[in-house]
């Protein structure tokens, strides 16, 4: 059979390949996400009002004791399910691709590790991520014990007059800390260490869920307006202008005061107003990439707009989107902490902001209640910043050229 010559190729046959060829990542994601949704559905339908879903599951399946020992006593609410789904998204669309092409990963990793602070930040974020994920499973929620209020951390001590009952020994009018509460306790007697660990979960939830929502809306708006062009682009961008000038904090306070708000509402409102910047950023990136030759080449060879966007525009903007999102996360963490400090946060959860707010009046004689969460929050925000910066440098080809000369 003579080799296929250019002019003899039957283009119709090729053009038809617009079938949905989902990559294995997407397949894996859909499967795992469905199983989580099934669990959530089960929880909604069968588990009794106050019973934990795993408990109910164990009861029905008759597996009983083993689950209890696993300590999955936590009763996951809607937020937890959403958090797990965003985690899956993160695993299948960020970690898996890195794993799938090691060469590229090594290349970026080598460039990334040149920036030492970024590596340290990544390490710290991993600690927070692990703490956030495993904390609730290993440690039970902080218990309130009024008589154990204001206990000092293990190697420190406090004036006995400020403490109702000292758990450690009292030496020379000063009460010393114990290992039972390594970082001391709040006025309500809750362990600060346990609170900080549970705070990690809240911070991770905020970080992942908000970025997912912002990314989803931002990317769609950005690519659509970049690609649609004309009056659609104009309209979308004007809408983005409006969203950008919304006084977000004020609106959240309004909603809070009229309809009451928990962590879920906070995440929803703040991410619904925060995607403006991402949309603009994605649009500018998409526009500049749309001009690249390879996009024209793809279009000439019959690729549909969706395919061009899906295959070329989004992956190329992906790197800068990730960078932009990492720089958004600190803003959300700060916002949650600020609201908690104002006494408007969701007082039912153990976030770092709640802890700082709880300990702020005791700063003079029990500084650890505020310092522990304050420092952890500070390190996490700093880490996100350094990580964002390092990603910016690592993924931006131009900086490579400059340094080389």
């Amino acid at each position: 059979m003579p080799p296929e010559r250019f002019d003899r190729i039957d283009w119709e046959e090729h053009a038809g390949s617009s079938g949905f060829s989902a990559s294995i990542n997407t397949v894996a994601f859909v499967l795992t996400a469905l199983s989580v949704l099934a669990l959530a559905g089960y929880d909604r339908l069968f588990a009794a009002e106050r019973e934990t879903v795993f408990g109910a599951l164990a009861r029905d399946v008759g597996v009983g004791p083993r689950f209890e020992s696993l300590g999955i006593g936590a009763d996951p609410g809607a937020l937890e399910y959403l958090f797990v789904i965003t985690l899956l998204l993160f695993v299948w669309y960020l970690l898996a691709p890195l794993y799938q092409n090691p060469r590229m990963t090594r290349y970026y990793w080598d460039r990334f590790t040149r920036n030492r602070p970024a590596v340290v930040s990544l390490g710290w974020l991993f600690v927070v991520f692990a703490g956030g994920l495993l904390g609730p499973l290993l440690l039970s929620a902080p218990q309130q014990d009024v008589l154990a209020g204001h206990q000092p951390p293990v190697y420190l001590s406090i004036d006995a007059s400020n403490v109702a009952r000292c758990l450690g020994e009292t030496v020379g009018g000063r009460c010393h800390g114990t290992w039972r509460y390594p970082l001391g306790t709040t006025q309500a007697g809750e362990g600060v260490f346990r609170n900080v660990v549970y705070g990690m979960t809240i911070s991770m939830q905020i970080a992942f869920i908000t970025t997912t929502i912002v990314a989803a809306i931002g990317i769609t708006f950005g690519t659509v307006s970049a690609y649609a062009g004309g009056w659609v682009d104009e309209a979308l961008m004007r809408f983005v202008d409006i969203v950008l000038s919304f006084p977000t904090l004020l609106f959240f306070l309004l909603i809070l005061y009229i309809y009451g708000a928990g962590l879920g509402m906070f995440i929803l409102v703040f991410s619904l107003f925060a995607w403006g910047g991402t949309a603009r950023y994605v649009r500018s990136k998409a526009l500049s990439i749309a001009e690249e030759e390879y996009v024209d080449a793809a279009r000439i060879s019959g690729a549909s707009t969706y395919r061009v966007v899906r295959r070329h525009v989004v992956p190329n903007t992906a790197s800068s989107i990730i960078t932009q999102l990492t720089l958004l996360v600190p803003g959300f963490l700060l916002a949650e902490a600020q609201l908690a400090f104002l006494g408007l946060g969701d007082s039912g959860i153990n976030s770092w902001g709640q802890l700082i707010s709880a300990g702020r009046s005791d700063l003079a004689f029990a500084p650890w209640i505020v310092l522990a969460p304050g420092i952890v929050l500070f390190l996490t925000i700093l880490a996100f910043n350094f990580l964002g910066d390092a990603l910016l440098d690592a993924l931006n080809p131009k900086t490579e050229a400059e340094r080389g000369r």
Partner: protein, 630 residues
Amino acid sequence: MRRRSKIGYGAGTRVDRRQWLSMLGAVGAAGLAGCSGDDGGSPETPDNGGGVRGLDGIEERPTVSGTYDTVTSASFTTLNPLYNTESGAGTAIGRALDQGYTFDADDEYVPLLYDMSTDDGEVWVFDVREGLTFSDPYGAVDAESFVYQIEELHQSDWALTANATDWTGVNVERTGKRQFQAELPEPQLLWPESFDPLEYPIPKGVLEPYVDDENVEGLRQDEELLELRFSGNLGAFVLDEWDRGAGTTYTRNDEYYIQDADNWSDLFSNAPYFEGASISVVEEQASRLGALETGEADSASVPPERFEEFDNDPDVSMLQIPQPFNRILSVNMRDNGWNAGPGNLFRYVAFRQAIATAIGTDDLIEGVYRGLAEPHHTWQPAWSRWYPGDDEVPFFGTGDRYGAGPARELATTAFDRSAFDYGFDGDRMVTPEGDQVTLDVYHSAGQETAQLIAEYAAQELDDNLGIELDVQAIDGVRFNNEFWTATPEGGTDTVAGESVRWDAPTPNNPGPRSVTSNEEWDMSLVFGLNTYPRNPLTNAAFFDGANARYNPVGYYPEFDAGGLFERARTAATEEELAAAFADVFVELAREQPYVMLAFGDSLTGYNPDLRGPIEDFANGWNAPGWHFAE
């Protein structure tokens, strides 16, 4: 005959008498503290006082020096005397405008602007002091300055003034230039102690234009009233400026009428002894305490966990003042209460006693209040003159009446009485369907002590009664509007066997148990109530029958409450009065209409050089005499 009575209440405080919010949610920013203790109670208002470290040891007249600066946590909604309902704003007004009268440390009636006397307790004669003048052009203070505002405003249906409810059914008429009298619907020996007749002098000239066209909006917003420009010689200081966000500043009033008041010793002949005064709004408790330490503030309230620390601090002198506002766990006996299952177990006295038994008051007082609170077993603080005495009052939550055993015993007797078979499955209380009993408890958002107590109660009920309590924070205003009050409907219901009609329903007692608020709730720590140690008769508004004026929880007394309060009303001598009250309080202790927890003391720190504050309930009555030791 001058009426004699022992118990007084810090005058000049226009606290909404019946209820105080553990958080000033209804009227101000987060965090009560105000200028009173962390849990409400008698704010130190510089009116007058005597006693221990007070002024009695001083002979020669003090010199005028320095300024008296205090800090408060919530800004003032209004300084308009007719419409103010906040204790913080009351203090701010009190600096520049005195009220009718007050009570000294021995609870003696001390006339300020007018003297009150009565023969039969039914007709009271008011004699206005001579020489009281408003700022010009409003001229002298006379009977009309009080009668006009009572008849035209308080008893009108359009003015909606703060003191409107005090004068319902009272017939007031002028009997002289500076004398008027009031005829009560039924005799009250302790009428002044109820603070109903306590009024500010308001010039008629300011009010007339608004009364003519019933313009309530204009009256609320009147500049003369808001800036207290008419105060003349009626206040220790003159209001300079009210900066809404920052607080108020005053300068000394040189012709303060007390200087030549005959019934005040010449110690007060050049009162007040400060060049000026100021009240600063400081929301951060840490800053208020910092100001106290650095001397920028001459007085501030201190939380229990730092009382001892400040007490040992040479730069601060601490006062622990008992106060009558209680900390209670209200249980909703109406139809929208008890959402854990069928029926409503709160309606049975035994179940309420079980709850009281389950919550340990000793640990509560030691843990939350660091020992700086009085136990609360009946509707009177122990130091009150009308307290029946420890031996007669049944105690719950302490001694042998505390713990899982006695609590469960009481709970089971309640189960037997109820038509549904609730029970215990192991250590968990379960509903007839077998699920664990789960209730919710609301506390005011942003209030540390309230949250602490809610979580403590939840833990105690879980350990001792196997009830799971879900702690919820809520904003005071929202709780008041959606949970606590309801639109009055009235109706009839059988209470302890006889039929009772709700003919004058109020939002706080909209009708029988079938009439409920918009939102359902089980337990609440949001509101504490006043126990009126000076005039316990005022408690009739809570308990003299299921249709009493203030009964949001739908409590149906099972003892003859009406009869007992009638006996007290008609008592001729104080012994009779004391005996009647003793019976009332023993019954209330037994029936626990509200699960009674504690009376937190008001803890206030003062500038050590300040002479005048006393560790007594009437602290502040002799404020005009306060001064800095040289």
